[in-house]
């Protein structure tokens, strides 16, 4: 039988401040209830702030009793939400055609202490524990690309299925409300005084939240028990190449993600019924989105942000908000943007604080995040969905490889630079910077992970000329590592432990996301396309290259920086390759 080309998304399970099931969450949203409230808890922040927390109670019933011991709170949330998705779809998670992808920014960061690296802090160890719980056959993959992680993980699942690698991918996204995250966002002055008010004139910042959600992405229609099945038609990830934390001033990066996703889906703006945007309610994010929607020809389309219901739930947001989109498509009801009163963006968007009943066939979901990344995915009711197009397989050639480890920089098999044996990373990397005659003020501001990536890329790309052949949005980066940003995470924790919550340093906190190294490289080399960061226990070169190939197959991507960049406590290893599509 011909392998179905359609990729379904189903069995969405949400655990959040609004309840332990999707039904409960939707009931509260329909009643305009928010999970955000004033939290006065010194364990989270020294002053009261607005946030959304998962209350204990309901959700624990969703996970079997044997899951309760030996697992962290976040792991139990992942297990509970995945249990829901597996039960709803009736699939066997142990099948050899099934993969688990987790989306998270900070994982078990609530267990961070500054004196030791506990196993649970490594995102891939956490993911493996969860995969083992369900007896899964394959090593799981973690996507950690800041606030786009959830949408990015769904796109990864879609691509791996379209590429024929797997039949089913369980995707779960989760992040906790922790002192680590709250102090960091407070240091950025991003947290609003009241409940967040996306796109509103009086908006003054985001509200943080915690949540966990899971879905099944599958090519097998038998897994889909919904009366109106929903398919993924396309998805794209891009980078602004503008700044590592500030949103783009033009909205061009998000516009690129939206237009690439629509192009893959084979649809025009007039085919899109509604948009569920990121809408964090920071002044600059929402403004950037209004510009991007205007550029995309979508500013008059019915649009909403769900952040005022759940808060910004980071690695969970892309998953749970997509589940809400699925509910909206099925019910023909676009949820209101709670708290919105008056237009507060340059380009007015089609918003309402009330729920709106309307025919909904196709929804665009977007997200944007630190590191300058943007993601967009197109979902449609199967009945109205376009017939997917099979893409010819892509071939690539390796243009150049650069490896750094143990004080040595090697390019295409030749030692370019090496330092004295046993030299500390900090002096080695400075010496390499001097050796390459680089002059970039940004270098000294970077954390060690970024410095490692920066020097590797500088050596790799020093004499590769691609700018005359490819547009910036045709170039991208797919990177991976084992330690995420753990070493800088500890520095942030040290600051707040030693000096206090309000002393958190934004210049440190911004580097507590591994994908910021991609952001730095995108700024340096004006790379504006594909941006995905995977966490795996060891470098899986075949997987990373295959993923870049899938992105080339589905997207405009022509050339890509792929590889591994890992730094932890003085131990470092990087390997970057520049690959180009053969046409």
């Amino acid at each position: 039988m011909e392998h179905s080309l359609k990729t379904y998304i189903t069995a969405g399970t949400i655990i959040s401040s609004l309840g332990a099931t999707t039904t409960e969450n939707m009931r509260h949203i329909r009643a305009y209830r928010s999970g955000i409230r004033l939290l006065d808890d010194p364990a989270l922040y020294e002053a009261p702030f607005m946030g959304a927390r998962i209350e204990s109670g309901g959700w624990e019933k969703e996970s079997p009793a044997d899951a309760l011991s030996g697992y962290t709170r976040l792991e139990r949330l992942f297990i509970a939400s995945l249990t829901g998705a597996i039960r709803q779809s009736g699939i066997d998670p142990s099948g050899t055609d099934c993969l688990l992808i987790l989306s998270t920014t900070k994982g078990n960061i609530d267990g961070l202490t500054t004196d030791s690296f506990r196993e649970a802090l490594f995102l891939s160890a956490m993911a493996q524990k969860i995969a083992d719980y369900f007896g899964m056959s394959h090593q799981p993959v973690v996507v950690s690309t800041a606030c786009i992680s959830g949408v990015s993980a769904l796109i990864a699942a879609y691509r791996l299925i379209m590429g024929g690698r797997y039949k089913r991918v369980l995707v779960a996204g989760g992040d906790l409300l922790t002192r680590f995250v709250v102090t960091g966002f407070q240091s950025f002055k991003s947290v609003g005084a009241g409940r967040c008010r996306p796109y509103d004139k009086k908006r003054d910042g985001l509200s943080l939240g915690e949540a966990c959600g899971a879905v099944l992405v599958t090519s097998d229609r038998h897994d889909v028990r919904d009366r109106s099945p929903i398919v993924i038609e396309g998805g794209a990830v891009t980078n602004d190449a503008h700044h590592i934390s500030a949103p783009s001033r033009t909205g061009e990066g998000l516009y690129n993600a939206v237009s690439h996703a629509m192009e893959e889906a084979g649809v025009q703006p007039c085919d899109i019924s509604c948009v569920n945007a990121h809408g964090t309610a920071t002044v600059y994010n929402d403004e950037m989105e209004s510009k991007a929607m205007h550029l995309s020809g979508l500013d008059a389309h019915p649009l909403n942000s769900l952040k005022a219901y759940w808060g910004h739930t980071l690695g969970a947001s892309g998953i749970i908000e997509t589940i809400a989109c699925m509910e909206e498509l099925r019910s023909g009801e676009l949820f209101g943007t709670l708290g919105f009163e008056a237009t507060g963006t340059t380009y007015p968007l089609n918003l309402s604080d009330r729920h709106r009943h309307m025919p909904l066939h196709r929804c665009l979901k977007t997200a944007s995040g630190f590191g300058g990344c943007n993601a967009a995915i197109v979902l449609a009711l199967e009945a109205q969905a376009k017939q997917p197009v099979r893409r010819p397989p892509v071939r690539t050639r390796l243009v150049r490889r650069c490896t750094i480890g143990q004080g040595t920089v090697v390019r295409d098999g030749t030692v370019v630079f090496h330092s004295a044996p046993g030299e500390a990373f900090s002096s080695f990397i400075r010496a390499a910077y001097a050796h390459l005659s680089l002059d970039d003020r940004r270098f000294y501001k970077m954390d060690d992970l970024c410095k490692l990536g920066y020097i590797t890329a500088a050596c790799l790309l020093s004499d590769v000329d691609w700018t005359s052949r490819y547009k910036p949005e045709e170039t991208g980066i797919v990177l991976s590592n084992a330690s995420s940003s753990l070493y800088t995470d500890i520095r942030h924790q040290q600051v707040i432990d030693d000096l206090g919550d309000k002393e958190a340093s934004p210049a440190v906190f911004v580097y507590t996301l591994p994908n910021v190294v991609m952001g730095e490289l995108c700024i340096r080399y004006n790379i504006r396309g594909e941006n995905t960061f995977f966490i795996t226990p060891a470098y899986d070169r075949a997987f990373i290259r295959k993923y870049a190939l899938l992105a080339m197959e589905r997207q405009k991507l022509q050339a890509c920086l792929v590889g591994w960049c890992d730094y932890l406590d003085g131990h470092y290893r990087s390997q970057l390759e520049w690959i180009e599509r053969i046409t």
Partner: protein, 86 residues
């Protein structure tokens, strides 16, 4: 005032990791932000807000208020002189 300016330059170099820059490289009247001057950005502005709170007891809640204040070492020092609590 002169001492305050030198003190500020040292604090900026330290807090903003301006490793290849010395006191002498920072002219009192030169813009701190943008490509013309030191090339500082929005994260640096947040770090300067922390310096003002920590060393001088000055609170700036909204980073956009900082724009004129943080223009140069001269404007920054002038604002601190007028508003310092310690």
């Amino acid at each position: 005032m002169e001492q305050l300016k030198q003190e500020l330059k040292d604090a900026l170099i330290e807090a903003l990791n301006l490793e290849d820059i010395t006191r002498e490289d920072i002219a009192d009247e030169a813009p701190l932000f943008g490509d013309e001057g030191l090339g500082l950005d929005s994260i640096d502005a947040l770090e300067i807000i922390l310096i003002l709170e920590r060393h001088y007891g000055i609170r700036i809640e909204n980073p956009s208020e900082g724009k004129a204040i943080f223009y140069s070492i001269n404007t920054l020092a002038g604002y601190i002189e007028a508003n310092r609590k310690r």
